[in-house]
Every structure is written in structure tokens, then in C-alpha cells.
């Protein structure tokens, strides 16, 4: 008996050791490429062309970042990205919360129809072309509002908020009604403050989506002044790819400069998300649970 326990203990330790080693490998696979991007962006064009480094840059230089900041259109794209994320998140969360609050009341007339309409939108959509034609006929092409208005609503988020509002005790609403408060007053003054955790989760998810979104621009925007960072980066990438294919063995200078600019833009585009990450992380786990695990 005693021997058996020792053997099990040994098996278990081997299991733990192998497990840890594999997970450390996994960490390396994720972190080394990311680290390489950061140090490459901080390297001079010459060092980039030569290559030959993985962990430490051969020639530290800020020239790539200088080149990026000298390009005024990138600064403008940054402003567009921040504006569309900020405005988009606030309007989206408020819009979804408002509808979620209404639908959380079981007595509301027509509720079954509204819910059915919402559920259908989760599984069916018109797809790319009919949506494009709609956006076009609404006059939203090349308008900043194309980032905001079509992104106002998501039935998933409505459901999450609806379930959250249901968990608020009914007595709060009843006593407010006795005091003569209307539905809007109760929603704005009682339910919204109580639902901040759920709203923050949705805000953060939606914010990441808005910041990373590039298809909206690709489909509906041709005006460069309205390009967010992601689209700007896409242009730089496409540009550098065609260049590197045209100049195989040719002009190394152009290629390495665009590569450096590309790397610096990647870092700048990602920085806000990474900076938000510690705040994000606190919310998104509970957010995933809220959305996915029912009962």
C-alpha cells in the first residue's frame, strides 16, 4: 500500500514537470515573436536588412518611429481610431442597455415578437453586398457615422444586459414607481449605476472590436482622412509587399524603410490595447461567463 502511494506520487510529479515544461514552451512560442517585433521596430534600417538577430537588436535606433511620426496622416488616423472607438463604445453600450432594459420587463407588449426578431438576426444576415447597398442608399459611404450607426446594436449584448437587469431585485423598481418615478428615470438613475460591471464588460469587448475593425473602412470608406490606424497599417503592408516583390534584389533602401515603418506602425497600433490589457483582463473573464454560460 505504502509503495503504491509513493509510486503515484512520483507519477504525479512527473506529470507536473512535463506539464510545466510544455507550458513554458507555449509561452516562448507566443512571447518570442512578439518581442522580436518590438526590438526589430527599434532597429536601424541597415540592421533590419541584414537580419541575423532574434532577441537583441544590433543597432538601436528610433528612426522608424521618427519616420512614422513625420507622416502626418498617421497622426490623423490615430485621432480617427480614438474617436470612433470612444464614440462607438459609448453609443453602443447605451443603445443596447436601453433595449435590454425594455426587454427585461416580462410585461412589455409585443415582447415575444421583439425577441424572435432579435434571435433571427443572430443567425441570418443579408451578407456583404446587400448590406453595402443599404449603407450606400443611406448615404453613409465616406461618412464618419458609418463607424458608429451600423455598430450601435448587437443582439448578443442586448441578451447579456437583459439577463443582468433581471437579476436586479424587482422591489427597487416598485418602490421607485410608488415614489412616482417613470421608466426612463428608473433606468437612468437606478439600473444603469447598478449595472456598471456588465456594461464595462460589453464596453471593453466592443472597444477592442472597434479599435481592431478594418473591414468597415475597407468596404465603405475611400476618403483617406477617415482612415483609422488599422487601415493605414493595411495600406503600408500592401505597399511594402508589392514593393518587395517588384524589387527582388533591387532597391534595398526602400524596402527596409517601409519595413521599419511597418514595424513601428504595428507597435503603435497595438500599444493602446496592450496598455488597456490589465484593465481588460479583470472584466473579460466574467464577461465570457456572462455571455456563454447560462444556468
Amino acid at each position: 500500500m505504502n509503495q503504491k502511494v509513493i509510486r503515484e506520487d512520483l507519477d504525479s510529479r512527473i506529470f507536473d514537470a512535463v506539464n510545466k515544461v510544455l507550458l513554458v514552451c507555449f509561452m516562448v512560442i507566443i512571447l518570442v515573436p512578439l518581442w522580436n517585433v518590438i526590438i526589430s521596430s527599434l532597429s536601424s534600417g541597415r540592421a533590419l536588412a541584414e537580419g541575423g538577430f532574434i532577441f537583441w537588436s544590433k543597432e538601436f535606433s528610433l528612426e522608424n518611429y521618427r519616420a512614422v511620426f513625420n507622416d502626418s496622416t498617421i497622426g490623423q488616423s490615430f485621432v480617427v481610431s480614438v474617436a470612433k472607438t470612444f464614440i462607438g463604445v459609448i453609443t453602443h453600450v447605451f443603445f443596447c442597455a436601453m433595449i435590454g432594459y425594455g426587454l427585461s420587463k416580462r410585461y412589455i407588449r409585443g415582447r415575444k415578437l421583439y425577441v424572435a426578431m432579435g434571435v433571427i438576426t443572430m443567425f441570418f444576415s443579408g451578407g456583404m453586398i446587400p448590406t453595402y447597398l443599404l449603407i450606400k442608399s443611406l448615404g453613409l459611404l465616406n461618412s464618419f457615422w458609418v463607424y458608429i450607426i451600423p455598430a450601435l446594436f448587437s443582439y448578443y449584448d442586448v441578451v447579456i444586459l437583459m439577463n443582468f437587469f433581471r437579476n436586479v431585485p424587482d422591489s427597487l423598481e416598485e418602490s421607485a414607481k410608488i415614489d412616482g418615478a417613470g421608466d426612463w428615470h428608473i433606468f437612468l438613475k437606478i439600473f444603469i449605476p447598478l449595472s456598471m460591471p456588465a456594461m464595462a464588460t460589453i464596453a471593453l469587448f466592443n472597444g477592442v472590436g472597434q479599435w481592431n475593425d478594418f473591414m468597415t473602412t475597407k468596404l465603405y470608406i475611400t476618403d483617406q482622412a477617415l482612415y483609422p490606424l488599422q487601415m493605414k497599417l493595411y495600406e503600408i503592408i500592401v505597399q511594402s509587399q508589392t514593393q518587395s516583390m517588384q524589387n527582388i534584389g533591387g532597391s534595398v533602401v526602400i524596402e527596409t524603410t517601409t519595413k521599419g515603418v511597418q514595424l513601428a506602425t504595428i507597435v503603435i497600433t497595438t500599444l493602446p490595447i496592450v496598455a488597456m490589457y490589465p484593465i481588460l483582463q479583470r472584466y473579460f473573464i466574467s464577461g465570457m461567463m456572462l455571455g456563454a454560460v447560462k444556468e
Binding site: 506529470f15 507536473d16 506539464n19 507550458l23 507555449f26 509561452m27 507566443i30 512571447l31 518570442v32 515573436p33 522580436n36 517585433v37 541584414e50 537580419g51 541575423g52 443603445f95 436601453m98 433595449i99 432594459y101 410585461y107 412589455i108 407588449r109 409585443g110 421583439y114 426578431m117 443567425f123 441570418f124 444576415s125 443579408g126 451578407g127 456583404m128 453586398i129 446587400p130 453595402y132 447597398l133 443599404l134 451600423p150 446594436f153 426612463w184 433606468f187 481592431n212 478594418f214 475597407k218 468596404l219 497599417l233 493595411y234 503592408i237 516583390m245 519595413k259 511597418q262 514595424l263 497600433t269 497595438t270 490595447i273 496592450v274 490589457y277 483582463q281 473573464i285 465570457m288 456563454a292
Partner: protein, 331 residues
């Protein structure tokens, strides 16, 4: 997933005919209008959502009719002439379309085959870690790539795979190759690049849900198994995995139903003139036909065909997994 008590009781009681159904139509509408007016304040919160759905969801669904029309720039949706199934007939003889189908299926099945299992294994490995701090560190790092956009990751991949980039550097240092080459220009390897980069980005994120479910497993199961002499692997096989069956099935259904809609952002950023024949997927084909060549009716027909097949896949996957879960649908 437990059955909710509400659905259990409604199944045992025969559904009563709602009293309103017996009343004449006129009276029901009248009642609805009075109630609606009385509830005006709360209805005003829902109304914008209804209007939004009608405009942005249902009008485009109606817009799918252009798949059966010959839509040109001078027409509007209603004036374009009907052509029946002509567009669908052309699709069947369009070899570019079939290339896109093959690529979509190839990449999707690689993603499904490899990418579906990895988050499960990873979640179990993280779950089995008993050191709090290291566990937290592993989780934090593994979620990180999910937050990078495909454009950012595409840009990174292009630099990693360039001849002077990280990938060639590593292979050269390890002595696996003698001359650097750009594998993004190698069409034959594109499916694997698409699959593995997707796994790199999403594997860690995919563990969240599984970890959440595992946190709910009663620890006394493990104690009992240990007393019975079950080793760690045995415990995983006989306790952890069975407890995750429902959520794995649900995830599988969602993945299968999305098989044909594989990532458009990824394709647009990684596709180039050299790898196009292996990189073009249905979504990027729809984009190219509709948005760059202006063939709206044809592109819509392709999109509609794909949606219909996706719904069929969803229903099939639901049937298969409900068999695995004792005939209980997980949807």
C-alpha cells in the same frame, strides 16, 4: 448545461390556448394599442432597437433577392429584372468559385482538426497547474494574441517570414535550412500558414470557456478517484473530459456552422499575387466579385449559397452532437 426548471414544467403542462387567440382580431388590436399606449415609456426604449433591426438586419435580408436578379448600377433593387436561378447556374461552372470552395474547406478543416483540440488540451494543462502565480501568468500571456487585429498579425507574419526575418533566422541558426526563403510566397504552404497563425492567435483565448466550466467541477470527484488509485491522466480522462462534453459539443456546433465563413481579414492581409490560387476563400471571392468588380447579383448569389450550406451544416452538427449527448440538443 442543466435544463431550466421553466422548460421542464412547461413540457409537463399541456400548452393552454392563450385567451386572446379566441377573441376577434379587431378587439385584440384594440387591446394591444391601449396596452402599448399605457406602456409608452418603456416601449420607447425598445422601439429604436426594433427600427434598427428592420433597417440594418431585415432590409439586407430582403436585399438577398438581388441574387435572383440582374442588378446593374443603373437599377434600384425593385427595378432590376428577375433572372431566376441564372446566377446560381453560372456559379456551378465557375472554376474560380470552386477553387475558393476547395481552399475554404481545406483551411477550415485544418483549423477544425488541429485548432479545435488544442484549446481543450491547453485548458486542461492550465487547469492542472497548482501554482497560483505561474497559472495566472500563463493565462495572461496566452490571451494576449487574441487582442491583436488580423492586420497587425498579418503585418507581423510578413516581417517574420521575410528573408531577413525571425522565421528564416531561427531555421538558419538551427541548421534546418541553408538559404532563406519567403514561405508566404509559396502557395503550397499557405493553408498551413493560415491554420497555424489562427491557432497561435486564438488557442489561448479558446481556453477561457473551458476553464470556466472546469472550475465548476466538484473537487470531491477527484478525491474519490485518487482514493481509488486513479493517476492524473486517468482523472483527466474519466472526470474532467466527461464534465466538459456539453460545452465541447456546443463549441463544435458553432465552429462547424462557421466553417464556410472563414476569416476574411486574414485572407485579405495574407493573400498576395503568388499565393492567390491557394489563398482565395469564398468570402474574399465574394468581396472581389462584388466590391472590386461590381458584379453585385453574382456575389450575392455566392454569399446566399454559402449561408444556406452553413445552416445545413449547423443542423447536421446539432444532430450529431445531440446523439453524443444522450439525445439532448445542446443548442
Amino acid at each position: 448545461m442543466n435544463k431550466t426548471p421553466a422548460s421542464a414544467t412547461s413540457a409537463s403542462i399541456p400548452p393552454a390556448i392563450p385567451p386572446s387567440a379566441k377573441k376577434p382580431m379587431g378587439q385584440r388590436i384594440k387591446e394591444f394599442v391601449t396596452d402599448y399606449k399605457r406602456q409608452w415609456e418603456i416601449q420607447s426604449m425598445v422601439l429604436p432597437g426594433i427600427i434598427f433591426m428592420i433597417i440594418f438586419c431585415y432590409i439586407p435580408i430582403y436585399g438577398l433577392t438581388i441574387a435572383f436578379k440582374n442588378y446593374t448600377v443603373i437599377d434600384t433593387l425593385s427595378t432590376a429584372p428577375w433572372v431566376g436561378l441564372d446566377n446560381f447556374r453560372i456559379i456551378l461552372s465557375d472554376e474560380y468559385f470552386w477553387d475558393a470552395v476547395i481552399n475554404t474547406l481545406g483551411i477550415s478543416f485544418l483549423k477544425l482538426g488541429v485548432g479545435f483540440i488544442i484549446p481543450i488540451i491547453l485548458a486542461i494543462m492550465i487547469y492542472e497547474l497548482n501554482m497560483g502565480r505561474f497559472k495566472k501568468f500563463v493565462q495572461t500571456i496566452s490571451y494576449l494574441p487574441h487582442f491583436l487585429s488580423w492586420i497587425v498579425l498579418g503585418g507581423m507574419l510578413i516581417t517574420w517570414f521575410s528573408t531577413s526575418g525571425l522565421f528564416n533566422e531561427l531555421l538558419l541558426n538551427l541548421g534546418l535550412i541553408s538559404k532563406p526563403s519567403n514561405i508566404l510566397l509559396d502557395a503550397g504552404k499557405y493553408w498551413w500558414i493560415a491554420t497555424l497563425s489562427d491557432i497561435w492567435k486564438e488557442a489561448g483565448w479558446g481556453t477561457i470557456l473551458y476553464l470556466a466550466i472546469m472550475a465548476k467541477i466538484d473537487p470531491t470527484y477527484y478525491e474519490a478517484a485518487r482514493i481509488d488509485g486513479a493517476g492524473r491522466l486517468r482523472q483527466i480522462w474519466n472526470i474532467t473530459l466527461p464534465n466538459m462534453k456539453a460545452i465541447i459539443s456546443l463549441n463544435l456546433i458553432l465552429t462547424v456552422s462557421g466553417l464556410l465563413g472563414s476569416n476574411l481579414d486574414q485572407t485579405l492581409v495574407l493573400m498576395n499575387s503568388q499565393n492567390r490560387e491557394k489563398a482565395e476563400v469564398i468570402n474574399s471571392y465574394v468581396y472581389r466579385m462584388g466590391m472590386t468588380q461590381g458584379d453585385f447579383s453574382y456575389a450575392t448569389a455566392v454569399g446566399l449559397g454559402v449561408s444556406i450550406v452553413s445552416v445545413i451544416l449547423l443542423l447536421m452538427a446539432n444532430k450529431v452532437t445531440s446523439k453524443l449527448n444522450d439525445n439532448q440538443s445542446v443548442l
